[in-house]
C-alpha cells in the first residue's frame, strides 16, 4: 500500500479503480510496474503530477503478450490516444482492462471491431477483411481463396446487405459465437474457454499470468 500512495494520489487511485471493468482482478498497481518496467528510464515513479509520458509502440509491441500476436499493432493503435501505438499509462491501463476477462462483452466487441477495422472507417469492409485474413493465416491463402472467404463472410454476417460490416452486424455475429462470448472474446484470452470455469481461471491478474 505504501508505495502506491507515493506514486499516485488517492483520488487517482480511486478513479482508476472505479473505471476499471474488473477492479479486483487487475491489481493495476502491478500493471503500473509492468508499464514502468518496459522503460524505467522514461517512466517516473511519481505519478501524482500526471506527467506526460508515452511509451513508443516498439516497446509496447515487444511485451510477451503481444509479441507474437498478429494483431499487435492494431491493438496498440486502437488503444493509444494518438492512434499510432504510443501509449500513455492511461492507454495502457485501458488496454489491459478491456482485454481482461471480466470486461463487459460489449466493450470487448466494440474494441474487437475497432481492431479489425484497419482503415478506421467504422466499417469492416472487404479490404479490412482481407487484411484480417492475411494476418490470421500468415498469407497462406491464395488471392482467390481470400476473395471467396470474404464473400462468404459478408454473406453470413452482413445483415443489412450494405456490403460491409457495421458494428451492429459484428455484435450480432458475435452473439452467436459462444466461444467468443465467454472468457474469450478478444485478446490474450480469446480462448474458447472452458465455460464454467472461466471466471476462476481467467480472472487472474494478467500481469501475473502473463509473466509466467
Amino acid at each position: 500500500m505504501g508505495n502506491k500512495q507515493t506514486v499516485f494520489t488517492a483520488q487517482q487511485l480511486d478513479a482508476y479503480q472505479d473505471s476499471n471493468p474488473q477492479p479486483m482482478a487487475v491489481p493495476w498497481s502491478r500493471l503500473f510496474h509492468r508499464y514502468r518496467d518496459l522503460a524505467p528510464q522514461l517512466v517516473p515513479l511519481d505519478y501524482t503530477s500526471k506527467p506526460d509520458v508515452k511509451l513508443p509502440y516498439e516497446l509496447i509491441g515487444s511485451m510477451p503478450e503481444l509479441k507474437d500476436n498478429p494483431f499487435r499493432q492494431r491493438i496498440a493503435e486502437v488503444f493509444s490516444e494518438d492512434g499510432e501505438g504510443n501509449m500513455t499509462l492511461d492507454d495502457f491501463l485501458d488496454m489491459f482492462s478491456v482485454l481482461s476477462e471480466m470486461a463487459p462483452r460489449d466493450l470487448k466487441a466494440y474494441y474487437a471491431f475497432k481492431i479489425y477495422d484497419f482503415n478506421n472507417d467504422d466499417y469492416i469492409c472487404k479490404a479490412d477483411l482481407e487484411k484480417t485474413l492475411n494476418k490470421l493465416t500468415r498469407s497462406e491463402l491464395t488471392a482467390e481463396e481470400v476473395r471467396m472467404v470474404c464473400e462468404k463472410v459478408m454473406d453470413e454476417a452482413d445483415l443489412d446487405n450494405d456490403g460491409r460490416l457495421s458494428l451492429e452486424d459484428f455484435q450480432h455475429m458475435i452473439i452467436r459465437a459462444p466461444d467468443f462470448l465467454r472468457c474469450s472474446m478478444h485478446h490474450i484470452h480469446l480462448t474458447s474457454g472452458t465455460s464454467y470455469h472461466c471466471k476462476r481461471l481467467c480472472a487472474a491478474s494478467p500481469g501475473q499470468m502473463w509473466a509466467s
Binding site: 477492479p23 498478429p70 466494440y110 453470413e156 472452458t194 465455460s195
Partner: protein, 844 residues
C-alpha cells in the same frame, strides 16, 4: 437534420416483439413499393412514397442546408481529406455527392463509435432506458439491452461535431448517471468505450453533484477526509486481498502455460481435471468430517488378529487396510457418545467397544454428544450425492446456457475469421501452428461451401454406408465381446475365489494377488480398445471433424458404460447377494476393495499409457521413423478416462468412505504427470476443437451416465440389498434405508410433536407417487421452456428478415436522397464550402 434521419428508424425500430405483426406488415408494404419504384425508376412514384413517410422533400433539403456547416467536424474533415471530394460508397458502388455523404455520415449508425459525442448520446439513451426500466419493470434488468446498442441510439439526436451540444449531452448523461443507483452507474460506466480518463471524469461529475456524499477533496473538512482515506485504504486492502486469493488458485500458472502452448482445447482437459478434483475434495471433506473423524476418535476394536503391513495392500487395498476407517465394515452401528462410550442399540458382543475412562453418569448426562453412526452414515452419503447432483446440474445448465444460443448457429465462416484466434497462445511455434490450423480450416470450410453436395454415385454412397455399417458393427461387436469376456472372466474369478475360500491352505498373499487379475484385465481393455476404435474411425473418413470426435466419444462411452454395467452386476448381483458363498464376513468391504483396486489399476495403466504411448512413441517416431510430428494429445479419450475414474470413485463412496482421498491423490499426480508428458511429448492437436461445446458435452457426460449411474447403483444398494450382518453401521437391518426409517419412528415415539416428520417420511420418501409427481412437474417445466425457446427462434427469424429489408430501405432512401440532390443542385460540390465557412465565422 437528425430528425429527418431518425424519424423513419423510429418507425422501424421494434420496441418489443409483441407488435411484431404490425411492423412486419408495414415492412412488406415498403418493400413492395420500393420494388415497384425500382422497377419503373419513376421519380414521381418515389416522391409519393416519400410523402407517405411524412417527409417532404423541402424539409429534407432544408434540414440538410442547415446542418451542412455543422458537419464540418474533425472526424469528417479527416475522412474528407482521405477520400477527396467525391467518394465511391461501398454500399452500391455509386458516386455520391458531398451533401449526400454528409447526411449519410451523420446517420446514427455511422456515427456510433466514431466520436465521443456519439458515444455519450448513445449511453445517454441507454441510461435513460435503464432508469425507465428500473421504475417500471425491474424484472427486465438482465435483458441484454447492451447487445445491440445502436438501435436504441436511433431515438437520440446525434450531431457528432457540435461541441456545445456535446457538452449538453454530457450534462444529460451525467444527470442520468446520478439518478441511477451506484451499482448501475458503475456498470454503465465500465461498459462505456471511452478512455479511462474520460470515464473517471464522468464518474467524478456524476458523484460530485451529489455534494454531501462524495465531495471534492478540497472542500471537505479534515475528519471526513480522514474517513475518505480510510474507505479508500480499506477498499484497496480488499482488492489486494481478492487478487491475492485469485493468485492462490490451483495451478493457475501451470494452466496458463498449457494454454499458452496448446490452446484451449487441451486446456479444457486440465480444467475438467481440476473440476473433478474439486468434486472429490468436497466428498473428502464431507465424509471426513461426518464419518471418518468421528469414527477415528472412537476407534472400534476388532477381535481379529492384527494384520501386518506387507506392501501389497497398497495395490489390493486389502489386508492391513481391511479393518480400518477406509472401509464400510469398520464403522460402528452404534451411537457414539461424547464420553467416548458407545451405547448399544443392540447387544452384539463382537462389536463392543471399550473406551476409557468409563463414565456412565456422563453418558446419561444432559449435555453429552451422541452421534448416531448409522444415521450419520446414511445421511452423509445421501447428502454428498444430493449436493454433488445439485452442483453438477447447476454447472451443466450454466454450461448449456453459454454454449447453445437460441438462434441457430449459422455463419461459421465469419465466426471462424473473427473468433478463431486463440489469444491465449503466446508461444511462437504455437502461434505459427495456430495460423496454419486456421488456414487449413478455412480451406476446408471453403471446399465444403463450394461443393456442398457433391453428387455421389449410388455405388459410392453404398460403399460409404457399408463402411460405416462395418465400422459400427466392429465397434459394437468388440464392445459386446469385451463385455461378455469381462462377465465370464469375473464369473470365473468368482468361482475361483470360492474354491480358494474353501481351501484354507493357500497363502493369503497369493489369494490377494489373484484378486488383481480382474482389474488388470479391465484396465487393459480400457486402454487397448480405444486404440482399436481410433483405427476403425480412421478407416471411416467422416466428413466433418466434429462428427468424428462425437462418434469417437460415443464409442468410448459405450465401452466404458457396458464394462461398468457388467462390473456393477458382478458386485451387486453376484457378490452382495451371496456373501457366504465367498466366505465373506463383510461383502461391502470386499466391494470397496474391488473399487479401490480398479481405481488404482486405472491410474497405473494411465501412467503406463503416458509413458509408452506418448513418451516412447514420440522417441520411436522421431528416431526410427524420422517423422517430425509429435503425438497428439487425445483429449476425448483422456477425458473419458477421467469420467470413468470418477464413476468408480462415486460408486465406492458408500463402501469405502476414504476412496475420494485416493481419487484426489490420483488426480493430483495425474495432473502433474499429464502436464509433464504434454510439455515433453505432444504437440497441439490439429483438429479444430470447439472447447466450449466440448466442455458442455463433458460435463453432461459426467452428469448423465457417470453420476446418475453411480447414484442409481448406490441407491439400489441402500434400498434393496441386505447389508451384511456382522459388520458395518447397518448390520442386522434388512436394508440400509431402514436406519432412517427406524430413527424417524423412534423420534415420533419419543417426541409426539415430531410426528409430522414420520408422516412426511412415510408419504414423501417412501411413497413413489411423490417422486412421480415431482418428475412430472419437472418435465412440464422443461416442456414449457422448450416451447418458449422455439417461439423465440421464430421471432428471431422474423426479425432477421426485417433487418434485411431495413437494409434495403436504407439503400433505397440513400439512393433517392442522391437523386434529389442532383435534381436540385446540379453542382453540389461547391456549396458546402462557402456555407460552412460562413457559419464558422458566425460561430467565432
Amino acid at each position: 437534420m437528425a430528425h429527418s434521419v431518425s424519424f423513419d428508424m423510429r418507425d422501424l425500430t421494434l420496441e418489443s416483439p409483441v407488435d411484431e405483426g404490425v411492423v412486419h406488415d408495414s415492412f412488406s408494404r415498403l418493400i413492395e413499393e420500393q420494388s415497384q419504384s425500382l422497377d419503373k425508376d419513376d421519380n414521381g412514384l418515389e416522391m409519393q412514397v416519400l410523402s407517405e413517410e411524412d417527409v417532404s422533400e423541402e424539409d429534407l433539403l432544408e434540414e440538410d442546408r442547415d446542418n451542412v456547416p455543422y458537419l464540418v467536424g474533425s472526424t469528417w474533415d479527416r475522412l474528407e481529406q482521405e477520400r477527396g471530394p467525391e467518394h465511391t460508397d461501398p454500399l452500391t458502388g455509386e458516386q455520391w455527392s458531398n451533401a449526400t455523404l454528409k447526411v449519410l455520415s451523420s446517420m446514427p449508425s455511422r456515427t456510433i463509435g466514431r466520436s465521443r459525442g456519439a458515444i455519450l448520446s448513445q449511453y445517454y439513451s441507454r441510461t435513460l432506458q435503464l432508469r425507465r426500466r428500473r421504475q417500471s419493470r425491474p424484472s427486465l434488468r438482465d435483458y441484454p439491452h447492451s447487445s445491440r446498442p445502436s438501435i436504441r441510439g436511433y431515438g437520440v439526436e446525434i450531431d457528432a461535431t457540435d461541441l456545445g451540444r456535446e457538452e449538453c449531452k454530457k450534462d444529460k448523461l451525467v444527470n442520468n448517471l446520478q439518478n441511477l443507483s451506484v451499482s448501475d452507474r458503475t456498470r454503465v460506466l465500465k461498459g462505456m468505450p471511452l478512455s479511462l480518463a474520460e470515464k473517471s471524469e464522468l464518474r467524478k461529475l456524476a458523484t460530485s453533484y451529489k455534494g454531501a456524499q462524495m465531495p471534492y477533496r478540497g472542500q471537505i473538512p479534515c475528519c471526513s477526509r480522514l474517513k475518505y482515506y480510510i474507505i479508500i485504504a480499506l477498499r484497496h486492502t480488499w482488492y489486494s486481498w481478492l487478487s491475492f486469493l485469485l493468485s492462490l488458485q490451483l495451478w493457475q500458472v501451470a494452466l496458463k502455460r498449457v494454454s499458452g502452448r496448446f490452446g484451449t482445447g487441451v486446456l479444457s482437459y486440465f480444467v475438467f481435471l481440476r473440476t473433478l478434483l474439486l468434486f472429490n475434495v468436497f466428498l473428502v471433506l464431507i465424509t471426513g468430517f461426518f464419518l471418518v473423524i468421528p469414527q477415528a476418535v472412537h476407534p472400534s476394536r476388532r477381535t481379529g488378529p492384527a494384520v501386518a503391513f506387507t506392501g501389497l495392500e497398497l495395490l489390493t487395498g486389502g489386508g492391513y487396510f481391511t479393518d480400518s476407517v477406509m472401509y464400510y465394515g469398520y464403522y460402528a452401528n452404534s451411537t457414539l457418545n461424547g464420553s467416548c462410550q458407545p451405547t448399544r442399540n443392540n447387544s452384539r458382543d463382537s462389536n463392543r467397544t471399550d473406551c476409557s475412562p468409563k463414565d456412565p453418569g456422563d453418558a446419561g448426562g444432559g449435555f453429552h454428544l451422541s452421534y448416531n453412526m448409522p444415521l450419520a452414515y446414511f445421511f452423509t452419503i445421501g447428502m454428498a450425492f444430493f449436493i454433488t447432483c445439485i452442483i453438477l446440474v447447476y454447472s451443466m445448465s450454466k454450461s448449456f446456457g453459454q454454449s447453445f444460443r437460441v438462434d441457430k448457429p449459422q455463419g461459421s465462416l465469419a465466426l471462424k475469421v473473427f473468433c478463431s484466434w486463440d489469444f491465449k497462445v503466446m508461444k511462437k511455434s504455437s502461434v505459427k501452428l495456430q495460423s496454419e490450423n486456421i488456414s487449413t480450416q478455412l480451406k476446408e470450410l471453403l471446399s465444403e461451401l463450394s461443393s456442398p453436395h457433391e453428387r455421389k454415385s449410388v455405388l459410392q454412397r453404398l460403399a460409404r454406408v457399408s463402411v460405416h455399417l462395418l465400422a459400427w458393427t466392429m465397434c459394437v461387436g468388440s464392445t459386446a465381446a469385451v463385455s461378455f469376456a469381462v462377465h465370464y472372466f469375473s464369473e470365473y474369478m468368482h468361482n475361483d475365489l470360492k474354491k480358494r475360500a474353501d481351501l484354507t491352505t493357500q497363502s493369503p498373499l497369493e489369494k490377494e494377488a489373484s484378486l488383481l487379475a480382474l482389474p488388470v484385465v479391465v484396465s487393459g481393455i480400457n486402454l487397448l480398445l480405444p486404440g482399436f476404435f481410433n483405427t476403425v474411425a480412421w478407416m471411416e473418413e467422416y466428413d466433418s471433424l466434429s462428427m468424428h470426435t462425437h462418434v469417437a466419444i460415443f464409442r468410448n462411452l459405450m465401452l466404458k458404460v457396458s464394462v461398468l454395467a457388467v462390473l456393477c452386476y458382478h458386485w451387486l448381483g453376484r457378490i452382495a447377494s451371496n456373501p457366504p458363498g465367498l466366505n465373506l464376513e463383510c461383502w461391502e468391504n470386499f466391494v470397496g476393495q474391488e473399487l479401490y483396486r480398479f481405481l488404482l489399476m486405472d491410474f497405473i495403466f494411465t501412467i503406463l499409457d503416458t509413458f509408452f504411448g506418448e513418451f516412447l512413441w514420440k522417441l520411436f517416431s522421431q528416431k526410427a521413423l524420422k517423422r517430425k510430428r509429435k503425438p497428439v494429445f487425445d483429449i476425448a479419450r483422456n477425458v473419458l478416462e477421467l469420467i470413468y475414474g470418477q464413476t468408480l470413485a462415486w460408486l465406492g463412496v458408500l463402501f469405502a468412505p476414504l476412496l475420494p482421498v485416493v481419487q484426489v491423490l490420483k488426480l493430483l499426480l495425474l495432473f502433474y504427470m499429464k502436464k509433464a508428458s504434454l510439455m515433453l511429448n505432444c504437440q497441439a492437436p490439429r483438429k479444430p476443437w470447439r472447447a466450449s461445446q466440448m466442455t458442455t458435452l463433458f460435463i453432461s457426460l459426467l452428469c448423465f451416465p457417470s453420476f446418475v449411474g453411480a447414484a442409481v447403483c448406490v441407491t439400489y444398494t441402500m434400498w434393496s440389498i441386505k447389508p451384511s450382518g456382522h459388520c458395518g453401521p447397518f448390520q442386522n437391518l434388512t436394508t440400509m434405508f431402514q436406519s432412517g426409517k427406524r430413527w424417524v419412528q423412534e423420534l415420533a415415539d419419543n417426541h409426539p410433536k415430531m410426528a409430522w416428520l414420520a408422516w412426511m417420511h412415510t408419504y414423501l420418501v417412501e411413497n413413489p407417487l411423490f417422486l412421480f409427481v415431482a418428475a412430472g412437474i419437472f418435465l412440464v417445466v422443461i416442456y414449457f421452456h422448450t416451447q418458449v425457446v422455439d417461439g423465440q427462434r421464430k421471432i428471431i427469424c422474423l426479425l432477421q428478415e426485417q433487418i434485411e429489408s431495413e437494409g434495403e430501405d436504407k439503400k433505397f432512401l440513400i439512393r433517392r436522397l442522391q437523386a434529389i440532390h442532383e435534381q436540385r443542385r446540379p453542382r453540389p460540390v461547391q456549396r458546402p464550402t462557402p456555407l460552412g465557412s460562413e457559419r464558422l465565422d458566425e460561430n467565432v
